[in-house]
Protein backbone atom coordinates (compact mmCIF):
# COMPACT_ATOMS: atom_id res chain seq x y z
CA UNK A 1 0.00 0.00 0.00
CA UNK A 2 2.66 2.48 1.00
CA UNK A 3 4.60 1.25 -2.02
CA UNK A 4 1.76 2.25 -4.33
CA UNK A 5 1.33 5.58 -2.60
CA UNK A 6 5.00 6.22 -3.02
CA UNK A 7 4.84 5.30 -6.70
CA UNK A 8 1.91 7.66 -7.15
CA UNK A 9 3.74 10.41 -5.31
CA UNK A 10 6.86 9.92 -7.38
CA UNK A 11 4.87 9.93 -10.63
CA UNK A 12 3.15 13.16 -9.58
CA UNK A 13 6.42 14.83 -8.67
CA UNK A 14 8.08 13.65 -11.90
CA UNK A 15 5.13 14.93 -13.89
CA UNK A 16 5.25 18.31 -12.18
CA UNK A 17 8.97 18.53 -12.70
CA UNK A 18 8.61 17.73 -16.40
CA UNK A 19 5.90 20.35 -16.73
CA UNK A 20 8.09 22.90 -14.98
CA UNK A 21 10.98 22.06 -17.27
CA UNK A 22 8.76 22.41 -20.31
CA UNK A 23 7.50 25.80 -19.17
CA UNK A 24 11.04 27.04 -18.52
CA UNK A 25 12.10 25.80 -21.94
CA UNK A 26 9.15 27.62 -23.48
CA UNK A 27 10.29 30.85 -21.87
CA UNK A 28 13.78 30.42 -23.29
CA UNK A 29 12.35 29.48 -26.70
CA UNK A 30 10.25 32.63 -26.79
CA UNK A 31 13.21 34.78 -25.81
CA UNK A 32 15.52 32.89 -28.17
CA UNK A 33 13.11 33.23 -31.08
CA UNK A 34 14.21 36.83 -31.46
CA UNK A 35 17.26 35.37 -33.16
CA UNK A 36 15.20 35.02 -36.34
CA UNK A 37 14.88 38.79 -36.50
CA UNK A 38 18.65 39.10 -36.57
CA UNK A 39 19.26 36.06 -38.73
CA UNK A 40 16.20 35.39 -40.90
CA UNK A 41 18.13 32.70 -42.78
CA UNK A 42 17.73 30.38 -39.79
CA UNK A 43 13.96 30.77 -39.99
CA UNK A 44 13.83 30.33 -43.75
CA UNK A 45 15.65 26.99 -43.57
CA UNK A 46 13.26 25.69 -40.95
CA UNK A 47 10.09 26.98 -42.63
CA UNK A 48 11.26 25.06 -45.67
CA UNK A 49 11.72 21.89 -43.63
CA UNK A 50 8.46 21.98 -41.70
CA UNK A 51 6.27 24.04 -44.04
CA UNK A 52 7.15 23.67 -47.70
CA UNK A 53 7.87 19.97 -47.34
CA UNK A 54 4.51 19.41 -45.61
CA UNK A 55 2.50 21.12 -48.35
CA UNK A 56 1.86 18.05 -50.46
CA UNK A 57 0.53 15.86 -47.65
CA UNK A 58 -1.61 18.74 -46.39
CA UNK A 59 -3.07 19.54 -49.82
CA UNK A 60 -3.79 15.92 -50.72
CA UNK A 61 -5.40 15.18 -47.34
CA UNK A 62 -7.43 18.36 -47.57
CA UNK A 63 -8.72 17.47 -51.03
CA UNK A 64 -9.94 14.08 -49.84
CA UNK A 65 -11.41 15.42 -46.60
CA UNK A 66 -13.27 18.11 -48.56
CA UNK A 67 -14.59 15.56 -51.04
CA UNK A 68 -15.80 13.25 -48.29
CA UNK A 69 -17.47 16.18 -46.53
CA UNK A 70 -19.18 17.05 -49.81
CA UNK A 71 -20.51 13.51 -50.24
CA UNK A 72 -21.58 13.00 -46.64
CA UNK A 73 -23.09 16.45 -46.43
CA UNK A 74 -25.04 15.94 -49.63
CA UNK A 75 -26.48 12.56 -48.61
CA UNK A 76 -27.49 13.93 -45.22
CA UNK A 77 -28.98 17.18 -46.46
CA UNK A 78 -30.73 15.85 -49.55
CA UNK A 79 -33.27 14.05 -47.36
CA UNK A 80 -34.39 17.41 -46.05
CA UNK A 81 -34.31 19.03 -49.46
CA UNK A 82 -31.49 21.25 -48.21
CA UNK A 83 -28.78 19.92 -50.51
CA UNK A 84 -27.98 23.46 -51.70
CA UNK A 85 -26.52 24.06 -48.26
CA UNK A 86 -23.79 21.47 -48.68
CA UNK A 87 -21.29 24.28 -49.32
CA UNK A 88 -22.13 25.77 -45.96
CA UNK A 89 -21.56 22.49 -44.21
CA UNK A 90 -18.25 21.84 -45.97
CA UNK A 91 -16.91 25.34 -45.38
CA UNK A 92 -17.94 25.69 -41.74
CA UNK A 93 -16.57 22.26 -40.80
CA UNK A 94 -13.27 23.03 -42.48
CA UNK A 95 -12.74 26.60 -41.41
CA UNK A 96 -13.79 26.18 -37.81
CA UNK A 97 -12.57 22.68 -36.97
CA UNK A 98 -11.09 20.32 -39.48
CA UNK A 99 -8.67 22.75 -41.11
CA UNK A 100 -6.81 23.71 -37.93
CA UNK A 101 -7.18 20.34 -36.17
CA UNK A 102 -6.35 17.94 -38.98
CA UNK A 103 -3.48 20.19 -40.08
CA UNK A 104 -2.05 20.14 -36.55
CA UNK A 105 -2.37 16.35 -36.36
CA UNK A 106 -0.72 15.88 -39.75
CA UNK A 107 1.95 18.39 -38.79
CA UNK A 108 2.68 16.46 -35.60
CA UNK A 109 3.13 13.29 -37.61
CA UNK A 110 5.04 14.73 -40.53
CA UNK A 111 7.10 17.63 -39.13
CA UNK A 112 6.85 17.39 -35.33
CA UNK A 113 8.18 13.84 -35.26
CA UNK A 114 11.13 14.78 -37.41
CA UNK A 115 11.88 17.76 -35.18
CA UNK A 116 11.88 15.51 -32.12
CA UNK A 117 14.07 12.89 -33.78
CA UNK A 118 16.47 15.49 -35.13
CA UNK A 119 16.95 17.26 -31.81
CA UNK A 120 17.12 13.95 -29.93
CA UNK A 121 19.79 12.60 -32.27
CA UNK A 122 21.77 15.82 -32.13
CA UNK A 123 21.73 15.48 -28.37
CA UNK A 124 22.59 11.77 -28.39
CA UNK A 125 25.56 12.35 -30.70
CA UNK A 126 26.82 15.23 -28.54
CA UNK A 127 26.26 17.76 -31.32
CA UNK A 128 24.39 20.01 -28.92
CA UNK A 129 27.10 19.63 -26.27
CA UNK A 130 29.82 20.46 -28.72
CA UNK A 131 27.87 23.50 -29.83
CA UNK A 132 27.69 24.65 -26.23
CA UNK A 133 31.43 24.24 -25.95
CA UNK A 134 31.82 26.48 -28.99
CA UNK A 135 29.96 29.11 -27.00
CA UNK A 136 26.93 28.77 -29.28
CA UNK A 137 23.67 28.39 -27.38
CA UNK A 138 21.85 25.45 -28.98
CA UNK A 139 18.53 26.61 -27.60
CA UNK A 140 18.87 29.85 -29.47
CA UNK A 141 20.68 28.56 -32.54
CA UNK A 142 18.86 25.23 -33.09
CA UNK A 143 15.64 25.06 -31.07
CA UNK A 144 14.25 28.59 -31.24
CA UNK A 145 14.23 28.94 -35.05
CA UNK A 146 12.41 25.60 -35.31
CA UNK A 147 9.82 26.81 -32.83
CA UNK A 148 9.33 30.03 -34.77
CA UNK A 149 9.01 28.02 -37.98
CA UNK A 150 6.23 25.87 -36.52
CA UNK A 151 4.46 29.03 -35.43
CA UNK A 152 4.63 30.43 -38.96
CA UNK A 153 3.99 27.23 -40.86
CA UNK A 154 0.96 25.72 -39.08
CA UNK A 155 -1.43 28.66 -39.64
CA UNK A 156 -0.43 28.88 -43.30
CA UNK A 157 -0.80 25.12 -43.73
CA UNK A 158 -4.20 25.23 -42.02
CA UNK A 159 -5.33 27.98 -44.40
CA UNK A 160 -4.18 25.88 -47.36
CA UNK A 161 -6.01 22.89 -45.88
CA UNK A 162 -9.30 24.75 -45.53
CA UNK A 163 -9.08 26.34 -48.98
CA UNK A 164 -8.18 23.10 -50.75
CA UNK A 165 -10.85 21.26 -48.75
CA UNK A 166 -13.53 23.69 -49.90
CA UNK A 167 -12.37 23.15 -53.47
CA UNK A 168 -12.66 19.39 -52.91
CA UNK A 169 -16.19 19.88 -51.62
CA UNK A 170 -17.00 22.04 -54.66
CA UNK A 171 -15.70 19.39 -57.06
CA UNK A 172 -17.96 16.74 -55.53
CA UNK A 173 -21.04 18.87 -54.93
CA UNK A 174 -21.06 20.84 -58.15
CA UNK A 175 -19.03 18.62 -60.46
CA UNK A 176 -20.35 15.24 -59.40
CA UNK A 177 -23.70 15.73 -57.70
CA UNK A 178 -24.92 18.56 -59.90
CA UNK A 179 -25.60 21.23 -57.28
CA UNK A 180 -25.83 24.73 -58.72
CA UNK A 181 -22.44 26.43 -58.39
CA UNK A 182 -23.87 29.85 -57.65
CA UNK A 183 -26.06 28.45 -54.87
CA UNK A 184 -23.12 26.48 -53.50
CA UNK A 185 -21.01 29.61 -53.09
CA UNK A 186 -23.67 32.09 -52.01
CA UNK A 187 -25.17 29.76 -49.41
CA UNK A 188 -21.63 29.30 -48.09
CA UNK A 189 -20.92 33.00 -48.15
CA UNK A 190 -24.13 33.84 -46.34
CA UNK A 191 -23.27 31.41 -43.55
CA UNK A 192 -19.49 31.91 -43.15
CA UNK A 193 -18.16 35.17 -41.78
CA UNK A 194 -14.64 36.51 -41.58
CA UNK A 195 -15.23 37.20 -37.91
CA UNK A 196 -15.79 34.99 -36.04
CA UNK A 197 -15.46 31.92 -38.27
CA UNK A 198 -12.29 32.46 -40.25
CA UNK A 199 -10.53 34.54 -37.63
CA UNK A 200 -11.22 31.94 -34.96
CA UNK A 201 -9.90 29.23 -37.25
CA UNK A 202 -6.69 31.20 -37.71
CA UNK A 203 -6.37 31.80 -33.95
CA UNK A 204 -6.82 28.08 -33.36
CA UNK A 205 -4.16 27.17 -35.87
CA UNK A 206 -1.68 29.61 -34.32
CA UNK A 207 -2.34 28.02 -30.92
CA UNK A 208 -1.88 24.54 -32.39
CA UNK A 209 1.38 25.50 -34.09
CA UNK A 210 2.61 26.83 -30.77
CA UNK A 211 1.74 23.62 -28.95
CA UNK A 212 3.01 21.30 -31.69
CA UNK A 213 6.37 23.06 -31.92
CA UNK A 214 6.78 23.31 -28.18
CA UNK A 215 6.00 19.66 -27.45
CA UNK A 216 8.08 18.31 -30.35
CA UNK A 217 11.14 20.31 -29.31
CA UNK A 218 10.74 19.58 -25.62
CA UNK A 219 10.47 15.85 -26.28
CA UNK A 220 13.60 15.86 -28.43
CA UNK A 221 15.57 18.06 -26.08
CA UNK A 222 14.82 15.92 -23.05
CA UNK A 223 15.03 12.58 -24.84
CA UNK A 224 17.28 10.00 -23.31
CA UNK A 225 20.41 10.11 -25.48
CA UNK A 226 20.06 6.60 -26.88
CA UNK A 227 18.45 5.09 -29.95
CA UNK A 228 15.58 3.77 -27.83
CA UNK A 229 15.22 7.03 -25.98
CA UNK A 230 14.95 9.03 -29.19
CA UNK A 231 12.44 6.66 -30.76
CA UNK A 232 10.33 6.67 -27.60
CA UNK A 233 10.44 10.46 -27.43
CA UNK A 234 9.39 10.69 -31.08
CA UNK A 235 6.34 8.48 -30.62
CA UNK A 236 5.37 10.16 -27.37
CA UNK A 237 5.79 13.55 -28.95
CA UNK A 238 3.23 12.72 -31.64
CA UNK A 239 0.82 11.19 -29.12
CA UNK A 240 1.08 14.10 -26.70
CA UNK A 241 0.78 16.70 -29.41
CA UNK A 242 -2.34 15.01 -30.76
CA UNK A 243 -3.97 14.84 -27.34
CA UNK A 244 -2.99 18.40 -26.51
CA UNK A 245 -4.35 19.67 -29.83
CA UNK A 246 -7.69 17.89 -29.42
CA UNK A 247 -8.08 19.00 -25.82
CA UNK A 248 -7.10 22.55 -26.62
CA UNK A 249 -9.52 22.53 -29.55
CA UNK A 250 -12.39 21.73 -27.22
CA UNK A 251 -11.36 24.50 -24.84
CA UNK A 252 -10.95 27.08 -27.57
CA UNK A 253 -14.21 26.11 -29.25
CA UNK A 254 -16.06 26.43 -25.94
CA UNK A 255 -14.54 29.87 -25.39
CA UNK A 256 -14.99 31.14 -28.94
CA UNK A 257 -18.42 30.01 -30.04
CA UNK A 258 -20.34 30.10 -26.77
Amino acid sequence: MTGRLQALGRATLDGLQALGGAVLLLGRLLRGATVVLVRPRLLVEQVYAVGTLSLVIIAVSALFVGMVLGLQGYYTLVDFGADDSVGTLVALSLVRELGPVVTALLFAGRAGSSLTAEIGLMKATEQLSSMEMMAVDPERRILAPRFAAALVAVPLLAAVFSAVGVIGGYLVAVGMLGIDGGAFWSNMQSAVDVTPDILNGVIKSVAFGFVAGWIALYMGYTAEPTAQGVSRATTQGVVRTSLAVLGLDFLLTALMFD
Binding site: E45, L77, S85, L156, A163, S190, A191, V194, I198
Partner: protein, 151 residues
Protein backbone atom coordinates in the same frame (compact mmCIF):
# COMPACT_ATOMS: atom_id res chain seq x y z
CA UNK B 1 19.88 21.52 -51.27
CA UNK B 2 20.95 24.84 -52.64
CA UNK B 3 20.07 28.04 -50.84
CA UNK B 4 18.24 29.32 -53.88
CA UNK B 5 15.87 26.36 -53.98
CA UNK B 6 15.16 26.66 -50.26
CA UNK B 7 14.33 30.32 -50.63
CA UNK B 8 12.10 29.72 -53.63
CA UNK B 9 10.37 26.90 -51.76
CA UNK B 10 9.69 29.07 -48.74
CA UNK B 11 8.56 31.97 -50.90
CA UNK B 12 6.12 29.72 -52.74
CA UNK B 13 4.86 28.24 -49.48
CA UNK B 14 4.22 31.60 -47.85
CA UNK B 15 2.57 32.96 -51.01
CA UNK B 16 0.33 29.90 -51.21
CA UNK B 17 -0.62 30.19 -47.55
CA UNK B 18 -1.53 33.85 -47.90
CA UNK B 19 -3.43 33.13 -51.11
CA UNK B 20 -5.38 30.45 -49.24
CA UNK B 21 -6.27 32.96 -46.52
CA UNK B 22 -7.43 35.36 -49.22
CA UNK B 23 -9.56 32.64 -50.80
CA UNK B 24 -11.12 31.92 -47.41
CA UNK B 25 -11.88 35.58 -46.85
CA UNK B 26 -13.18 36.39 -50.33
CA UNK B 27 -14.61 33.25 -51.83
CA UNK B 28 -15.68 31.31 -48.75
CA UNK B 29 -16.92 34.08 -46.48
CA UNK B 30 -17.68 36.51 -49.30
CA UNK B 31 -16.06 39.50 -47.67
CA UNK B 32 -17.80 42.16 -49.77
CA UNK B 33 -15.85 45.10 -48.40
CA UNK B 34 -12.94 43.91 -50.48
CA UNK B 35 -14.76 42.66 -53.50
CA UNK B 36 -17.65 44.44 -55.21
CA UNK B 37 -19.02 42.04 -57.78
CA UNK B 38 -20.35 43.58 -60.97
CA UNK B 39 -24.10 43.83 -61.36
CA UNK B 40 -26.82 46.15 -60.06
CA UNK B 41 -28.77 46.65 -56.86
CA UNK B 42 -32.52 46.65 -56.37
CA UNK B 43 -34.54 46.76 -53.15
CA UNK B 44 -37.57 44.97 -51.81
CA UNK B 45 -39.58 45.61 -48.65
CA UNK B 46 -40.91 42.74 -46.59
CA UNK B 47 -43.12 42.57 -43.52
CA UNK B 48 -40.98 39.76 -42.19
CA UNK B 49 -37.72 38.36 -43.51
CA UNK B 50 -37.69 35.37 -41.15
CA UNK B 51 -34.24 33.80 -41.05
CA UNK B 52 -32.93 35.46 -44.22
CA UNK B 53 -29.27 36.44 -43.92
CA UNK B 54 -26.96 38.70 -45.85
CA UNK B 55 -25.29 37.05 -48.86
CA UNK B 56 -28.17 34.56 -49.16
CA UNK B 57 -28.79 33.52 -52.75
CA UNK B 58 -31.33 35.17 -55.04
CA UNK B 59 -32.77 32.90 -57.67
CA UNK B 60 -35.25 32.97 -60.50
CA UNK B 61 -36.88 29.76 -61.66
CA UNK B 62 -34.29 27.96 -59.56
CA UNK B 63 -31.35 29.63 -61.30
CA UNK B 64 -28.92 31.62 -59.20
CA UNK B 65 -29.07 35.26 -60.34
CA UNK B 66 -27.66 37.23 -57.40
CA UNK B 67 -27.56 37.59 -53.67
CA UNK B 68 -28.76 39.57 -50.68
CA UNK B 69 -26.52 42.55 -50.12
CA UNK B 70 -27.97 43.96 -46.92
CA UNK B 71 -30.99 43.77 -44.65
CA UNK B 72 -32.14 46.80 -42.65
CA UNK B 73 -35.18 47.90 -40.72
CA UNK B 74 -37.07 50.89 -42.13
CA UNK B 75 -37.47 53.14 -39.06
CA UNK B 76 -40.80 54.60 -40.26
CA UNK B 77 -42.72 51.69 -41.69
CA UNK B 78 -41.09 49.10 -39.40
CA UNK B 79 -40.64 46.86 -42.39
CA UNK B 80 -37.48 45.11 -43.53
CA UNK B 81 -35.66 46.74 -46.43
CA UNK B 82 -33.66 44.13 -48.30
CA UNK B 83 -31.11 45.16 -50.91
CA UNK B 84 -30.49 42.56 -53.60
CA UNK B 85 -27.50 42.52 -55.90
CA UNK B 86 -28.42 41.02 -59.25
CA UNK B 87 -25.52 39.73 -61.30
CA UNK B 88 -24.61 41.26 -64.61
CA UNK B 89 -26.35 39.46 -67.44
CA UNK B 90 -29.71 39.21 -65.70
CA UNK B 91 -30.90 42.69 -66.63
CA UNK B 92 -34.29 41.83 -68.10
CA UNK B 93 -36.32 41.14 -64.99
CA UNK B 94 -39.87 42.48 -65.53
CA UNK B 95 -40.66 45.50 -63.34
CA UNK B 96 -43.81 43.91 -61.89
CA UNK B 97 -42.02 40.76 -60.69
CA UNK B 98 -42.61 39.46 -57.19
CA UNK B 99 -39.80 38.95 -54.66
CA UNK B 100 -40.56 36.21 -52.17
CA UNK B 101 -38.65 34.61 -49.32
CA UNK B 102 -38.55 30.83 -49.48
CA UNK B 103 -36.86 28.10 -47.53
CA UNK B 104 -34.86 25.52 -49.46
CA UNK B 105 -36.29 22.25 -48.24
CA UNK B 106 -37.64 21.78 -44.77
CA UNK B 107 -34.55 22.77 -42.84
CA UNK B 108 -32.44 24.50 -45.45
CA UNK B 109 -31.47 28.14 -45.58
CA UNK B 110 -33.75 30.91 -46.70
CA UNK B 111 -33.34 32.59 -50.03
CA UNK B 112 -35.08 35.18 -52.17
CA UNK B 113 -36.99 33.85 -55.15
CA UNK B 114 -38.16 36.15 -57.95
CA UNK B 115 -41.45 35.32 -59.73
CA UNK B 116 -41.35 37.07 -63.10
CA UNK B 117 -44.19 39.47 -64.02
CA UNK B 118 -45.55 40.36 -67.49
CA UNK B 119 -44.51 43.98 -68.08
CA UNK B 120 -42.18 44.97 -70.85
CA UNK B 121 -40.33 47.42 -68.60
CA UNK B 122 -37.47 45.88 -66.64
CA UNK B 123 -35.93 46.55 -63.25
CA UNK B 124 -32.89 48.81 -63.25
CA UNK B 125 -30.39 49.80 -60.59
CA UNK B 126 -32.07 51.41 -57.58
CA UNK B 127 -35.59 50.19 -58.45
CA UNK B 128 -37.91 48.64 -55.94
CA UNK B 129 -39.98 45.49 -56.13
CA UNK B 130 -43.65 46.47 -55.95
CA UNK B 131 -44.86 43.01 -55.10
CA UNK B 132 -43.29 41.07 -52.26
CA UNK B 133 -44.18 38.03 -50.27
CA UNK B 134 -42.76 37.66 -46.74
CA UNK B 135 -41.12 34.65 -45.28
CA UNK B 136 -43.37 31.89 -44.12
CA UNK B 137 -42.72 31.71 -40.41
CA UNK B 138 -43.32 28.18 -39.31
CA UNK B 139 -44.37 29.08 -35.75
CA UNK B 140 -46.98 31.55 -36.98
CA UNK B 141 -48.30 29.05 -39.47
CA UNK B 142 -48.70 26.45 -36.80
CA UNK B 143 -50.35 29.03 -34.54
CA UNK B 144 -52.92 29.92 -37.23
CA UNK B 145 -53.58 26.28 -37.89
CA UNK B 146 -54.25 25.68 -34.20
CA UNK B 147 -56.70 28.60 -33.86
CA UNK B 148 -58.61 27.44 -36.94
CA UNK B 149 -58.86 23.98 -35.46
CA UNK B 150 -60.41 25.42 -32.30
CA UNK B 151 -63.12 27.26 -34.24
Amino acid sequence: MSERLVEIGVGAFVALGLAALLVLALQVSGLTELRQPPGYEVTATFDNVGGLREKAPVSMAGVHVGRVESIALDPETHQARVTLRIERGYDSIPADSTAAIYTSGLLGEQYVGIEPGWEQATLAAGDRFTETQSAVVLERLIGQFMTQMQD
